[in-house]
């Protein structure tokens, strides 16, 4: 068996939409209208970007004030290798900027060519995006105050609070999250997936009780110990429980309702696992039905559990389950569900 680690790309995306509330919403509405608002804190100082509460005394805050669109760099760091979702697609500085009229700082990118062109205390101003929607990235970033002509800039209106009050309020913001991973399944599942390519099903044997778990995960949950022995299981078993789905599922056009999903106990296994039952009307499936794996054609086999297309009836007599307390549970007394297996064989 190859020791090479199985690896597959995994991308997680969370397309969150968040409600903004009156304070964050007013700030984002302002950005859309090209004005910057802060909020007055309990001590009279101005926080920008604004929060609905004062972090110092937890007082609720609501008095919005317009502040300047230029300010001073309080601190900065250099981002020499920008990533796709960041403010600029070429090297830039991250900075905390105290805008004129604010007492706290806002974090954003500053576009300069080289770290030698930026310093603490430097004056910078907002570079607005042309099309603004009420989002923090309506601010494209900051540029030195003497930015070259041609940058889009909206002058401070002085009536920004009124402008925002009169505008259609921003009530939600989309904050999509995308993170890429390289998934590795671990030793137990790697062996399982490799064997699948040869139409073999592997399980894990508990070193204490001898019980067999499938799919194997390198651990016996009964003993809380690593497993060291793998066993090959038959591709036959019986339906221990099932359900029938009568509504279609988004993204699974290959599944035609009504269809049967079953908990299938393989011969020699101590636990069941999930599979589809086909080759029989869904309404005719019974607990105890003997089934056999329907594999993909040999030339389509991959290192994947999808190699088993479904489970089809073998035509053998149903297994008689004599102890329903064991259904869906690990049989703690004997390896395999032997009493029912024997009945099936007789």
């Amino acid at each position: 068996m190859s020791d090479e680690v199985l690896e597959a790309p995994l991308v997680l995306e969370y397309p969150f939409t968040r409600t903004t509330g009156p304070v964050v919403g007013a700030f984002l509405t302002g950005l859309r209208e090209g004005v910057v608002l802060g909020v007055k804190r309990s001590d009279g100082s101005v926080m920008c970007p604004p929060l609905e509460y004062d972090p110092a005394d937890s007082a609720a805050l609501s008095e919005m004030v317009e502040i300047g669109q230029a300010g001073e760099i309080v601190t900065w760091s250099w981002n020499g290798a920008p990533r796709p979702q960041q403010p600029f697609d070429r090297p830039f500085a991250w900075a905390m900027v105290r805008l004129d009229g604010a007492d706290t700082t806002i974090l954003h990118g500053v576009l300069v060519d080289d770290p030698s062109e930026i310093h603490t205390g430097m004056r910078v101003e907002i570079v607005w995006r042309d099309e603004r929607v009420g989002h923090i990235s309506d601010i494209a970033g900051f540029a030195p105050e003497s930015a070259p002509a041609g940058s889009e800039r909206t002058p401070v209106s002085g009536d920004g609070v009124e402008v925002v009050s009169a505008a259609e309020p921003v009530q939600s913001v989309r904050t999509p999250i995308r993170i890429e991973y390289s998934y590795t399944p671990g030793r137990g599942l790697s062996a399982y997936l490799r064997a699948m390519k040869d139409k073999r099903i592997l399980g894990d044997k508990c070193p204490v009780s001898g019980q067999v778990f499938v799919p194997p995960r390198g651990v016996s949950p009964i003993a809380g110990m690593p497993t060291s022995e793998m066993v090959e299981l038959a591709d036959t078993g019986y339906v221990e429980s099932f359900n029938i789905t009568r509504v279609p599922i988004h993204g699974r056009d290959d599944l035609h309702p009504p269809y049967c999903s079953a908990w299938i106990v393989l011969d020699g296994a101590s636990v069941g696992f999930m599979g589809l039952v086909t080759g029989i009307e869904a309404d005719d499936v019974t607990i105890g039905l003997r089934v056999k794996a329907l594999w993909k054609p040999d030339d389509e086999l991959e290192m994947s559990a999808t190699n088993i297309l479904s489970w089809v009836p073998t035509g053998e007599p149903d297994v008689v389950i004599d102890n329903y307390e064991l259904v869906g549970r690990v049989d703690e007394t004997t390896p395999g569900k032997t009493s029912t297996d024997e009945e099936a064989e007789s």
Binding site: D3, T75, I179, G186, G224
Partner: protein, 350 residues
């Protein structure tokens, strides 16, 4: 207050653990620690773990790792989406209630499976900051320049911290960055994220840690030299970076005060300081004297296992006291951007 002690600990950290799943990584450590004190899972009163779904890339990822404990029949269990040090805190509180005498704590993380810098961007404010995807190194670099500009610290001091971490880490089999490097050589490194150099940044690791806690006489039954948690507290700063004074760590100052760090001499401290700047700030926040040895393991600069580094600091400190390397230690864990949340405990031998 009940006396609660660390009676067993194990850890594993490597630059990358690619071929084992989280449960395969953890189950040998769990088994090892339980055997070291002669307990089975069913003998243990409460189990609490710490991990992150964003790191694992899987919802409810912790439920699969529970299989490693052997939860049959069902066990009393809890989980925090935090470093394992906060799982320890929950277990400590549970032990204080008094209906149990032993607790099992573990945490783990494999940062190598994704981009840790992107994952950490998702913990920022979702309206104002996270949509810009600033990475954790850039954020800490903002704090570093504030410190340098203010004159509180200079680059040489930061390089000295990095050099000492490497020196200490040489004796730590779990350290990932342990090759010696002089202060001048570190100062000659090109910036990674100006003003931070590669040696100022944490050495990312995959791994995990397991600990058993016991109260009072039960601790003495289980272990020849239990290491007592004499004080423990955790505090949190405001989330918005713009409203915080980033030139100090106020939450760590308060936690250290409540944990009683200053009540007596501290022989050594294990600080969960991913950056040289964090170690500088935490040394100050805990009020450590110049004769206290800081991060004898090399600390998180030498091996930073996200979600376990804090618990490992407590385990490292306990292991050293158990070995007789000192009588009284401070251990610290942190969470969130720029050390937003801080846990401090004081450990003592008998």
């Amino acid at each position: 207050m009940r006396d609660v002690a660390v009676v067993g600990f194990a850890q594993r950290q490597e630059a990358e653990i690619a071929d084992e799943s989280e449960v395969e990584l953890m189950v040998p450590l769990m088994d090892q620690v339980k055997k070291s004190v002669g307990l089975s899972q069913q003998d243990i009163g409460f189990t609490c773990s710490g991990s992150s779904d964003f790191l694992a890339g899987q919802a409810f990822s912790f439920v699969m790792t529970i299989d490693g404990t052997g939860p049959v029949p069902p066990i009393s269990e809890s989980h925090v989406e935090m470093d394992g040090a906060w799982a320890l805190y929950e277990a400590w509180v549970k032990l204080q209630i008094g209906d149990i005498d032993t607790a099992f704590v573990y945490s783990y993380g494999r940062s190598s499976r994704g981009s840790l810098r992107d994952v950490l961007a998702t913990q920022m404010d979702p309206y104002y900051v996270a949509p810009l995807w600033p990475d954790a190194f850039a954020i800490e670099a903002l704090r570093a320049r504030l410190l340098l500009d203010s004159g509180k610290v200079d680059e040489r001091h930061l390089a000295e911290i990095a050099s000492r971490s490497r020196e200490h880490a040489a004796a730590n089999p779990n350290a990932v960055r342990c090759s010696p490097k002089s202060v001048d050589d570190i100062l000659a490194e090109p910036f990674s994220v100006d003003p931070l150099r590669p040696s100022d940044l944490p050495a990312s690791a995959d791994g995990g840690a397991v600990m058993i806690l016991a109260a009072g006489d039960r601790a003495r039954d289980l272990c020849d030299r239990p290491v007592w948690i004499r004080g423990i507290d955790h505090r949190i700063d405001a989330h918005s970076l713009g409203v915080r004074d980033l030139t100090r760590v106020e939450s760590a100052e308060i936690a250290a005060h409540h944990a009683g760090v200053a009540d007596d001499k501290i022989d050594f401290a294990e600080l969960h300081a991913p950056f040289t700047t964090s170690e500088f700030l935490l040394t100050e926040a805990l009020g450590l004297e110049s004769d206290t040895i800081v991060n004898p393991s090399g600390g998180a600069l030498a091996a930073h296992t996200m979600m376990a580094s804090g618990l490992i600091r407590i385990g490292e400190a306990a292991t050293r006291i158990q070995a007789g390397d000192g009588d009284r230690a401070a251990a610290h864990a942190s969470s969130g951007p720029c050390l937003q949340q801080n846990l401090v405990c004081v450990l003592e031998g008998d």
